[in-house]
Amino acid sequence: MSAPTVQDAGGHDGLEVLNLRKEYRSTGLFGRTRRTVRAVDGVDFHVPPGGSLGLVGESGCGKSTAARCILRLAEADSGSIRYEGLDVRAARGPALRMLRRRVQMVFQDPYSTLNPKRTIGQTLEEPLHVHGIASGRAAREAARALLGEVGLGTDAMERLPSEFSGGQRQRIGIARALILGPSLLIADEPVSALDVSVQAQILRLLDELRERRGLSFLFVSHDLGVVRHICDAVAVMYLGGIVERGPVREVFDAPLHPYTKILRAASPVPDPAARVTMMRIEGEIPSAAAPPPGCAFHARCPAAFARCSQERPLLREVVPGRAVACHLFP
């Protein structure tokens, strides 16, 4: 799975993740390991400067864990994460502070993303104080300017999060992520908790910000429509590993991996001419604590054959720019 394809070869700018692994252990009495969950099991991807990659998959597939490792909210077990030449996993002290300024996150739940006891002004100014970028009047001006940029009035400064709607809170969360001037924004399901009408507004805002600020995006989502709208490339994850990766239109218009096909068929297409083919996916996603041998997907795969239950397929480039981990594409 971890064999680097051409696309993964070193020397890239932007975000580069190679063979990332993260396990969670639940320990029993006396520190004995009882269960090991391989949340992320050898994942490679690359987000070029100004590019946007969508990380899609069912809940529990490890997409959020991968994002958290890049932000150092979780510590990866092995693999390499580099951003703009900085070794993310080894960063500490000034390097880690620099990473905090360059990579920021937008969270899923608009209701817990803001401290209910702090005014919007306090929330936005605090990072500037902590990083010694601005204080007093200058910090207040920076926060005001950013509120305008995300489409809120400056009268929000003195108000508490409880006075805002979900969509407004998400705008404030985006403003907080941008206050340090990052170049990479990681968004973990930033619109999935919002009403559909509000979703579109937030997505448009993210699009505008990307254009205006030249941001790179890592977009974690289960919603293929959202990913299609906002990303140039997509990596489909299943049970801790990437099963297919490539440009977003090609992958969604002509999926190669059986899992991508099923995901694709399960998400509605706004095209009356499209033939409705209901593909059924059998069973539940297997437990990452007891992954099946061979291909992680073989138990649910409509195209599985004998080799699938014995040998784990590696992610390899089958068409230029597109990689698949499936024995159907040797």
Binding site: Q104, Q108, T123, E126, G166
Partner: protein, 291 residues
């Protein structure tokens, strides 16, 4: 998603929990008024007390309540009402000081344990569990026995016995808050753990800690009285409620009011604090769920 049921943005600032506590529950009022009376009597004791609490008068020993001595006199001829008012100062001082110490120390340890997790969590909560396994009075007794009986040691002893419940009360919501977006955002923004705990977690716990503090204040006052009763409190002749009950016991048949009035004082104060604490808790509990 209860949060979405709230009218977004149109809802003004919510009424403070304190105001809510008094509006919805009359017994909270009774508690507040009783406590205010006790506090006032204690603070204004030098002005209000009809006699010097330490002045002995052999000629009027063990006198029943009268116009001159409203609550009678004790075995040394001292005015019981005056001693009760001065005793309230000791009880409230020990109670407030020990609870403030307990809430500060226990709250801080609970937040650290909950936020840091792992070995630190196990270590802190292990010590707290040991403290919790002793009966309050016995633990206080041990601390006073080791340190010696004095006002300061009494405060230390009671603070130690009450630290563990506050650590528990602070730890549980910290475990929830730790996973909240704004705490994660703070970490992603590179905030120091101390800042996250003090600025982002603590303010969201203050309401719960305050409710606990008002309830444990009652226990602290009871513990002080108990320790004084068994002679491990502030040394005589200083007036304390527990000490007065003990002295009154020696003459319980001849002058039952000697033990009765300080006991009533303890009862009223503890009742007032419990009523107040219950009211606050009722007002605050459902609120915390929603945020």
């Amino acid at each position: 998603m209860t949060a979405q049921l709230e009218a977004p943005s149109s809802a003004g600032p919510r009424p403070s929990a304190l105001a809510q506590a008094f509006r919805s529950n009359q017994t909270t009022w009774i508690g507040a008024i009783l406590l205010a009376a006790v506090v006032l009597a204690a603070v204004l004791a030098p002005l209000l007390a009809p006699h010097d609490p330490l002045q002995q008068d052999i000629l009027v020993r063990l006198e029943a309540p009268s116009a001159e001595h409203l609550l009678g006199t004790d075995a040394y001829g001292r005015d019981v009402l005056s001693r009760l008012m001065y005793g309230a100062r000791i009880s409230l001082l020990v109670g407030f000081a020990s609870v403030i110490a307990a809430v500060t120390l226990g709250g801080a340890l609970g937040i650290i344990a909950g936020y840091m997790g792992g070995v630190i969590d196990q270590l802190i909560m292990g010590v707290m569990d040991v403290l919790l396994s002793f009966p309050t009075l016995l633990l206080g007794l041990m601390v006073v026995a080791v340190l010696g009986a004095s006002l300061e040691n009494l405060i230390v002893a009671i603070a130690v016995t009450e630290m563990a419940p506050f650590a528990r009360i602070a730890r549980a919501p910290t475990l929830v808050l730790r996973e909240q977006g704004f705490v994660e955002a703070g970490r992603a923004l590179g905030f120091h753990p101390v800042r996250i705990m003090a600025v982002h977690i603590l303010p969201n716990l203050v309401a719960e800690l305050a409710v606990m503090a008002s309830l444990w204040l009652a226990t602290a006052i009871r513990t002080e009285a108990s320790l004084s009763f068994i002679g491990l409190g502030v040394k005589p002749p200083t007036a304390t409620w527990g000490g007065m009950i003990r002295e009154g016991f020696e003459n319980i048949l001849d002058a039952p009011w000697l033990a009765l009035f300080p006991s009533l004082a303890v009862l009223i104060t503890v009742l007032a604090l419990n009523l107040l604490g219950d009211g606050l808790r009722d007002a605050i509990d459902p609120k915390l769920r929603r945020e």
